[in-house]
C-alpha cells in the first residue's frame, strides 16, 4: 500500500491552527514547496517549530498564515533579516516564542520520550525564561539542584524534505540531517517530501527515517528551492535576494508557479 500522494493532497490534511515542525536548517533542505502549497491553500494561524528558520517561516509570515514561532533563529544569515517575520512580530501579529535552538530540541525530546517536560542546562543569566514563559525551573529530587526545564513541543505534523524516499515512507537524507530525525520522532504525524521516489526494494543506501513513522510521501522535485538540497543544488542567491527585496510579489509569483505544476 503506497503512501505516496500529491503535494496538494498532503497539504490539505493540515488544519488551520496546526503546529508544524519544519525540517532543514536556515536555507538548507527546508520544505519550501510544501510551505508554498500550504499558503496556496490559504491555511491560517499556523505555528512553526524550527531551530533556525529562514524562507520557510518568512513565506508563511508574508502570506499572513503564521500565528507563532517556536524557534532559536529566524533570519537569512548574511542575506539579512527575515523581513515579513520581523514585521509581523513588530506589529504583534506573530508571537515569537523565542527559544535557544537547544531548547527547541529539548522540547522535541520531551515529546519523543513521552514526558511533559525536559531538563536543559542553559539559560543562566538570560532574560528569555521570564520573557517567554518557555523555561521554568524545578529542583532535582536527587541533588537538589535548580534545573531549567522546557515543556514538550509536540508538532501536529513534522514536514521534512529529503533526497530520496520510497512509497512506504522510508527516507534518506544525504549529508547533513540537521534536526530532522528528532522532529520526525517528536511529531504526531510525519509528511516527507522528496527529490526522488524509488521503489522499496531498490535501496542502495540505508534510509535514516523508517517508513512506519511516516504518514505520507510526496514527490517534490526542487522542493527546497530557492534554498539548497545538497548535493543536487545550492542556494539560488538571486532568488533569495529577489525575495527579500519584495516578499509579497515573490510570493505571488510562487503561488502562480505552483498552480501550473
Amino acid at each position: 500500500m503506497s503512501k505516496q500522494i500529491s503535494l496538494s493532497e498532503a497539504a490539505s490534511v493540515v488544519s488551520d491552527g496546526a503546529l508544524l515542525a519544519l525540517g532543514g536548517n536556515a536555507l538548507h533542505r527546508s520544505p519550501v514547496a510544501f510551505v508554498t502549497e500550504l499558503i496556496r491553500q490559504g491555511k491560517k494561524n499556523l505555528s512553526v517549530i524550527k531551530t533556525a528558520g529562514a524562507l520557510d517561516v518568512d513565506l508563511l509570515a508574508t502570506a499572513k498564515s503564521l500565528e507563532s514561532v517556536y524557534g532559536g533563529y529566524i533570519g537569512f544569515e548574511m542575506f539579512g533579516l527575515a523581513q515579513s517575520y520581523r514585521k509581523g512580530v513588530q506589529n504583534q501579529e506573530i508571537v515569537a516564542h523565542e527559544h535557544a535552538c537547544a531548547s527547541v530540541i529539548a522540547g522535541l525530546r520531551a515529546s519523543i520520550y513521552g514526558v511533559p517536560f525536559q531538563p536543559i542546562n542553559g539559560f543562566q543569566g538570560s532574560e528569555l525564561p521570564e520573557l517567554t514563559g518557555q523555561i521554568k525551573y524545578v529542583d532535582c529530587p536527587f541533588t537538589g539542584k535548580k534545573t531549567a526545564v522546557v515543556p514538550a513541543l509536540r508538532p501536529d505534523y513534522t514536514v521534512i524534505h529529503v533526497n530520496i524516499a520510497d512509497e512506504q515512507g522510508n527516507a534518506y537524507i544525504e549529508g547533513a540531517v540537521f534536526e530532522d530525525l528528532i522532529m520526525v520522532r517528536a511529531a504526531e504525524k510525519v509528511i516527507v517530501t522528496a527529490e526522488k521516489i524509488i521503489s522499496s526494494d531498490s535501496w542502495t543506501v540505508r534510509p535514516q527515517v523508517p517508513g512506519f513513522l511516516v504518514e505520507s510521501v510526496v514527490l517534490a522535485e526542487q522542493g527546497a528551492v530557492p534554498g539548497s538540497c545538497a548535493p543536487s543544488y545550492s542556494i539560488d542567491k538571486e532568488a533569495v535576494i529577489d525575495y527579500l527585496k519584495d516578499p509579497n510579489s515573490y510570493l505571488e509569483k510562487l503561488k502562480e508557479a505552483e498552480i501550473h505544476v
Partner: protein, 243 residues
C-alpha cells in the same frame, strides 16, 4: 600587508585564540569563524576539533558560502558525523571548549542581545533570535564574541534584552579586542588593531573602556598567517560580513 582590512584582523585574531586540541563550534552567519578555524588548524592548532551545523567533524571545506554558515559545504572532508543536537549536548555537559557567537548588542559583561531592539513584547526591531547562544554561552568553556561594527548602538551599558549571558572570554570588533577581567567580570580593552586607537574605541563604546591587565600590542599578522589565510579563504569569504 598594508591593505589589511578589519576582516583580516578579526579572522586572524579568532584563529590565534583557538588552542590546539580544543573543540570549536560556530553557528549560522559566521563566515569569519569558519575561516578562522581552518586557519588555526593549519597553524598552531592542528588537533582542534571543528564542529558546525551541518554536522561533519573536522571538515576541510574547499570553499565557503558567502551567504550561509550552515551550508553543506562545511561537511566536506569530514570523517564522522556530530549533528547540531550533539554539539549542544556537548556544551551542556561541559565538554565544548569554544563557541563563536555574536550579538546585535553586547554589554560590558559580554552578555548579548539578539532578540529585539526595544521591548521584547513590542519590539522596534525584531531580531533573528539568539540561535544557540542562550544555551551555549553559559555552558561553553570559552565564548568568543565578535561584531562587524563597533559603535555605541552595538556596545551598550544596558541591553534591551539579555538573550544570553555567561562565559564570554573575548569580544572581537573591527577596532580591537576586549577580554573579560577575572576580577569583576567586566570587558576590558585587551588589544587595539593597527587601524584604530584606544581613543577611537573609547569614543565608540557605550560602556566605560578600561585597559585589561594583560593589555598588549597587536602582534602584526605574519607572512605565514597571511599566506595560509589566502590559501584557506581564496574567495575572500571573510569579507562578506562587511559588504
Amino acid at each position: 600587508m598594508s591593505n589589511l582590512q578589519a576582516a583580516d584582523y578579526i579572522t586572524v585574531s579568532m584563529a590565534r585564540l583557538i588552542q590546539d586540541g580544543e573543540r570549536v563550534f560556530h553557528g549560522v552567519a559566521s563566515p569569519m569563524p569558519a575561516v578562522a578555524v581552518q586557519l588555526a588548524k593549519k597553524l598552531h592548532a592542528k588537533r582542534a576539533v571543528y564542529l558546525s551545523i551541518p554536522g561533519g567533524v573536522d571538515a576541510e571545506p574547499s570553499s565557503f558560502s558567502s551567504y550561509s554558515s550552515a551550508d553543506p559545504v562545511l561537511r566536506e572532508g569530514s570523517v564522522s558525523d556530530f549533528p547540531l543536537s550533539d554539539i549542544f549536548d556537548l556544551s551542556a555537559r561541559g565538554a565544548l571548549d569554544v563557541a563563536f557567537l555574536s550579538g546585535a548588542q553586547i554589554d560590558g559583561y559580554g552578555c548579548l542581545n539578539l532578540s529585539a531592539i526595544g521591548p521584547f513584547d513590542k519590539p522596534k526591531v525584531r531580531l533573528p533570535g539568539g540561535a544557540g547562544s542562550a544555551a551555549l554561552l553559559p555552558t561553553v568553556k570559552r565564548g568568543i564574541l565578535w561584531k562587524t561594527n563597533h559603535d555605541k548602538r552595538g556596545f551598550v551599558e544596558k541591553l534591551d534584552v539579555i538573550t544570553a549571558a555567561g562565559n564570554t572570554e573575548y569580544v572581537i570588533t573591527p577596532l580591537g579586542i576586549f577580554k573579560r577581567s577575572e576580577e569583576d567580570q567586566r570587558l576590558r580593552l585587551y588589544c587595539v588593531f593597527p587601524n584604530s586607537s584606544v581613543e577611537e574605541i573609547t569614543e565608540n563604546t557605550g560602556f566605560v573602556v578600561e585597559k585589561h591587565e594583560e593589555f598588549e600590542e597587536f602582534s602584526p599578522i605574519t607572512e605565514e598567517e597571511l599566506q595560509l589565510l589566502e590559501l584557506v579563504d581564496q574567495k575572500g569569504t571573510r569579507y562578506s560580513e562587511f559588504k
